[in-house]
Symmetry: C2
Subunit: 139 residues, 2 copies
DNA sequence: CTTGACCTTAAACTATACTCTAAGGTCTAT
DNA sequence: ATAGACCTTAGAGTATAGTTTAAGGTCAAG
């Protein structure tokens, strides 16, 4: 499989596949005489693994760690995979909390604004942002 | 007020205040003979406005739009402020949905992994990522 | 045998929001 | 008068995850 084929099979752009290679995530199993990348079925599995990992919210660096486990399972233990996963769950939980807090604030802001074509002189959104009413939590 | 004072009063670093100036969000009301930035009480209010806006999840560019309304209220209408706010609510809603979907997937992944010191040969997390079980949704 | 599709590389560019450095000028207190 | 705190600028660096470009080499079909 050449890079264009893997692009179609995996749904990951050739640009990105080269980038993943540079980052050490997905090395083609060999290079042809013309120096073209040649990917195996295993490489396709790895490409999809990366895609799924990303869909779960793992960063490329975390994905690389999971990939290292996958590649050499006997040299790794469940605890490693579970720890990475657990940290991500915590992290996402915090993000959700942060977003929900913002969401509540925004909904309050929106609620009292008429949204009409009149001057923003007394706009509740603008004045709320001017006052000390909003609970300040750095993003 | 010099930049260091505004830094203390607003809790925004001097670096960031200069950056906000470069981005057109917060211009000091004047410059001293020594070219030092001089900030007024109004500038402090603006600085806090920016901070609150960011805490609500608005980007710097959205904050700039809100700031433009605040600065010249009579030339703007409620509809503008409400529209910006409404879009942000939608955007955050989508982010929360995305994160919750990830969260559910991750929790399923974590659930069946023993997390012990045994080889990752049969780790459910790794094998789930290898299989086509995970609903693929690009991040 | 040429056209067009596909491949190669290194490096620059995108986006966001800072953060820091270097080299130098100014201010305040002792 | 000199140390130390504070200010100035332009520009580079940080982080993440790509995306694109430029300049060129290779391959299959007609
Ligand atoms: Zn109104
Ligand atoms: Zn309003
Ligand atoms: Zn196990
Ligand atoms: Zn496991």
């Amino acid at each position: 499989m050449k890079i264009g084929d893997l692009e179609k099979q995996s749904g990951i752009s050739a640009y990105t596949l080269r980038y993943y290679e540079k980052e050490g995530l997905l090395m083609p199993s060999k290079r042809g005489e013309n120096n073209y990348r040649h990917y195996s079925q295993d490489d396709l599995i790895t490409a999809k693994f990366i895609k799924r990992s990303k869909a779960c919210g793992f960063s490329l660096s975390e994905t690389a760690s999971l990939l290292a486990i996958k590649t050499d399972k006997s040299q790794h233990v469940c605890a490693e995979a579970k720890s990475i996963t657990h940290s991500k769950i915590q992290e996402i939980e915090e993000q959700i909390q942060r977003l929900q807090h913002m969401q509540e604030t925004l909904i309050q802001l929106e609620k009292y604004c008429c949204g009409g074509q009149e001057s923003a002189e007394f706009c509740s959104i603008i004045s709320a942002l001017e006052q000390d009413q909003i609970i300040e939590k750095g993003e």
